[in-house]
Symmetry: C2
Subunit: 753 residues, 2 copies
Amino acid sequence: MIRPTSLSLLLASALVLASAPVLAPAASAATQQQTGDASPVLVTPAEWKAMAAQGGSAPMFAREQQRTTKQLDAMIKRGIDVPVPKDPGGGYTHEQHKRNYQAIEAAGTLYRLTGDKRYATYARDVLLQYARLYPTLGPHPAGRNEVPGRLFWQMLNDSVWVVHAIAGYDAIRDTLSPADRQNIDDNVFRAMARFMSDQSADNFNKIHNHATWAVAAVGMTGYVLRDPQLVSKALKGTREDGSAGFLKQIDQLFSPDGYYEEGPYYQRYALAPFILFADAIERNEPRRVIFQYRDGVLLKAVDTLVQSSYGGYFFPLNDAILDKGLDTEELVAGIDIAYAQTGDAKLLSIAQRQQRVLLSPEGLQVASALKAGKAKPFDFRPALLRDGGDGRQGAMSILRMNGEDGQALVMKNTTQGMGHGHFDKLNWLFYDNGQSVVTDYGAARFLNVEAKQGGTYLPENKSWAKQTVAHNTLVVNETSHFDSDWKVGETRPPTPLLFQVTGDMQITSARMEGAYDGVRFTRTMALLSHPELGEPVVIDLLRVNGNTPARYDLPLHFNGHIMQVGFKAEHAVAQRPVLGKDNGYQHLWVDATSQPAAAQRTLEWLLDGRFYTYRFDSSAPTRAILAESGANDPDFNLRREPVLIQRMDGQKDATFFGVLEPHGEYNGTAEYVRGANSHIDRIERVTGSDADVIVLTLAGGKTLALGVANDPSNAASEHHVSGNGYDYRWRGGWARFEEKSGTAQTPPPEARP
Amino acid sequence: MIRPTSLSLLLASALVLASAPVLAPAASAATQQQTGDASPVLVTPAEWKAMAAQGGSAPMFAREQQRTTKQLDAMIKRGIDVPVPKDPGGGYTHEQHKRNYQAIEAAGTLYRLTGDKRYATYARDVLLQYARLYPTLGPHPAGRNEVPGRLFWQMLNDSVWVVHAIAGYDAIRDTLSPADRQNIDDNVFRAMARFMSDQSADNFNKIHNHATWAVAAVGMTGYVLRDPQLVSKALKGTREDGSAGFLKQIDQLFSPDGYYEEGPYYQRYALAPFILFADAIERNEPRRVIFQYRDGVLLKAVDTLVQSSYGGYFFPLNDAILDKGLDTEELVAGIDIAYAQTGDAKLLSIAQRQQRVLLSPEGLQVASALKAGKAKPFDFRPALLRDGGDGRQGAMSILRMNGEDGQALVMKNTTQGMGHGHFDKLNWLFYDNGQSVVTDYGAARFLNVEAKQGGTYLPENKSWAKQTVAHNTLVVNETSHFDSDWKVGETRPPTPLLFQVTGDMQITSARMEGAYDGVRFTRTMALLSHPELGEPVVIDLLRVNGNTPARYDLPLHFNGHIMQVGFKAEHAVAQRPVLGKDNGYQHLWVDATSQPAAAQRTLEWLLDGRFYTYRFDSSAPTRAILAESGANDPDFNLRREPVLIQRMDGQKDATFFGVLEPHGEYNGTAEYVRGANSHIDRIERVTGSDADVIVLTLAGGKTLALGVANDPSNAASEHHVSGNGYDYRWRGGWARFEEKSGTAQTPPPEARP
């Protein structure tokens, strides 16, 4: 069911609103405040009635209700427990306060869905205990360098508590005696809102996801308590002047393509308060047409987040926990609310995979649509996602072939991503066959595991996971980009140069200046399919221009068991040294090191029944180093993962080029192997004055070549590259050739985002 | 549909047959030979007709037929290719000859199922090419130390070729001209049968799974060619005196419980020819009632093989590839044929999981029964599986709680298992939560991967995988059991002492003498559940008695990421040494080593969302060593897996004891952790003159204790153990106590296998 307002009208009013920043409080809330009405506002009484009547007939909604009932009944049976805050993340009081907000929300919901007064009473009694406890609390005893909360060690968790608990409270508020209502209003929610906003204005007025949770908490509290000033502060910052608050956060934290600058892991986390608060705004101040705000960027953000996943898991860029994916509850909210806004049946297939819905009108819409068989496959597609509020702070390129479990190449040309960003400009990841093949370590953290430093980011997050050498991009002189200063990184985004998609070819390119003084590097990556190759291959061309001779390292973090090392090396078999001293190098155990050579090399590995051959070469001699993470890690905080590093010493300008080829099949069950040998015999680079051509010689002798201009963004330039029996001419940033010489067979088509 | 012969009649005739070893050729085959009848005998014409008529209505059978049709049509389209043999396993000619036997079998089958003459013609044409090629062949050029074949590098594969191709040939033989039939009879199947039997009598007459494939090939050829002498040789060896051949193999290779001495991986492989040939015997000489032979041991072997699995994968004992499990084609044949014999609906749930059936009358029975919804859950249960033809060569103990994905403890008290056996007496494995928690490396081999030594066993199979230190059992003076001589191992099986199952307790025990000169060790392992423990825990008590002071190492190979190292150790963080020189120790990188101490220690790890705490102590000071496989492995042949080693120096007698406790939950998706702390505070051993008591103090102070007699097999002995404030009395091999003192609350019940 799509909201029956016409889209053009909504857009029109959005424009009006955008130019009228100071709004009067919404009439409904204002009216209610005056009359003392305590009926629900986050979900309307009519909506609750409809859900109570129809929920049972939509299986996924009914299952959700059953699950919630079971959990809540168990909580109620255990008795109320509102402990004095003490523990950090993962500890007992932390987890108990989490359980309590879930229970309050569940109790309010189930009271409305079943009419069972027992649930309302339970929610009330829990909240009355909080009304007793909360006014007695000072800063949390386990608060560390994050902004401390009162119930939790960081205020962030206090905000999350309110976002959920207020929903439960809204559902039961009209069942309370005036005294209880006043008590809870004042001593829980108004006190917490005051603490989060005016008393913590620095945090509240940040443009940061922690602040989004805070503004959502305060704003939703404002609607429920009929307090327009709380809403106004939530929307426009404590000064109520629009310099901070929800609208400013939408303006600045999302790019025009709905990319959130900290990356998918935090986008997921941030999305929930954006979406939940927007939903509250939509109900209470529909005139704001918040879902159309900034060209509908909140809805784009939901789509973008799903696009930023493979095999159900988010790309683990920046500080990211690897096991987060499409089934997280934040995205359940995102999908349900986005579907209610758009009626896009492709979102339903994600809901199907989540096997969860909100116990809300939106969740019921999704469950009913699924029951009616309306789901369509989600459209995972190549995408260029611009970064930055203005869309000019770099971009993330996603190349994709062969659908959801096919090939996905992610090139991270985004800006730093604030304090959770990694020093990984022009880094890439590759997925194939449902697996992560070229990897990103993600964050060094065991979320909520007390034994691992209370579940916070581990020291190795800084010493390894953030460092450049932990990524698949250029390291100069064994130091990290921006000398590991993220604030510098924020000011120097990469420059996207190219993003184009054709039938058998997808290509993207970007340039980075300022990651290192006096060094500029340009990287072009392409996904090419060809009838004589079993699967599409990745071509990587990295050109470096430096002022002074330097050590250039290019790591490739891969996933799988090595089958063949296609080069001679000295193996550290009986005593294993560490690769370096600092900037992540101290965490690498060396397995093997080759002598410097200017020869083509290969490395083949096996992952989940498929072989991968990486074939690589460079403009000057390199050593090839095989290493593994895990050194200098006395607490066993790191996973142990292999890496190949190409190391070139003493050059100013340098080019690294390679091709990664998925091939063949190992089937242990049926005991057969096919295609274990690479279908590519050779990779060569032919270089000209203003362009390079990477030539692959396929098994059988045919060539497949990719011409790339030194400035791939110039679509009009003419190029001629010849040598070694090759001769290529083309116009534009790139061209594909399937002969040893010739002009481009097909002019590069237009970009398709 | 169960075969309509009455069971008692079958058993009666089995008895008669067993006492009449020399049989006349079966009448049907003999008659056919004289009349020149060429109609099918491995599946009868009537059965083929029934399948053609009914197959379409049983979905799994129909899908199998579709899949087969698709594959075969693609083969036919590619054209016939019968190359001159050249490559080892995994190479082109190897794989092509494999594809060819699959195609011949498929073509014969589809000809019968569809009546499409095209398939018969294709099978004929392929076989005519073999008739041209085969007589020209000498020993395979890639033959190594295994018995070389002619089509394949080892004769084993030639045998497999025949077992499948003969089935296809049988189906089309009556469509051939007499000349073609004679040509293929003589130049393919009779020539191959001669090569495998009389010309390779040493191999053929072995009591070994390779020989089972050979006798099956020759015997099935005998039925199809109407040659009773081939059948006789297959059943009774080339000398036809019963000293070798199929019946002798059944007698000796399976234990009375259907355990195959090489272990589950080879049991799976060996099972196929046993079952397929038995099926052929059943059809052609039903008077042999072969499936009742030796108390129905072939059918027991199917059940035993399924019991020897967890999470769908076989226990990787001895030389085993880890990805083999219930869905292998060998077990598809086993399940289908066993179901046809027994009508046991519990086998159907395994077939359901396999999602495959044979295109045979038995496969159709299974598919029809599944369609009719007859499947019942397979009964995974605790089991004592005796080893050896006489059942006296040790045993494998399987303890299980909480069903298929619950806890399984495997204690390997079996005999050596011939050349594929590992030096791992009294080794154990533990599964929980669907995962392998305490592991066995299996084999160092990449089956069929040419780059890995042609897919054969790697050097590291001998230098690491077989060695004692690669297992979870006692190593004396850094050498392996039997000084790594498997032939000595064959003569010295462990002695099973105990196997009992009660409601909250399962226990098993065995003793090993002769693995090391002058050393005897007795190990008792138990799985205990308790209301105050989230999951059942494993108690391990290992008593060693030696003649001279020695170094005792007790490894624990675990799977997961270390959360907490509960002891002080020196960490090798910047230079990583190797643990030892030989016997597998050269493959271990050291991560950390503690000083010797006689203190209780713990190690906690996380695996797939569950925590595991191993709490251990011993009778004398030990060092605790944390290490990882992968040293001295220049070809990256080994997986890198962690191990904890308890090392005790200078003692003659020693006791090691420990408890492994699964607990809590890490949920990365929903972001919560519960029960991350062990629920056990302490483990202690109280020792008496003839028994030990292992006392666990649970969080909260209650005790849970296990008394174990030094001779756990003596059910009548009286024991009294006291000290440290504990006082325990019981009668029998073991007792469980839930107080600090007392007599056993429940007398140990009778053993239940």
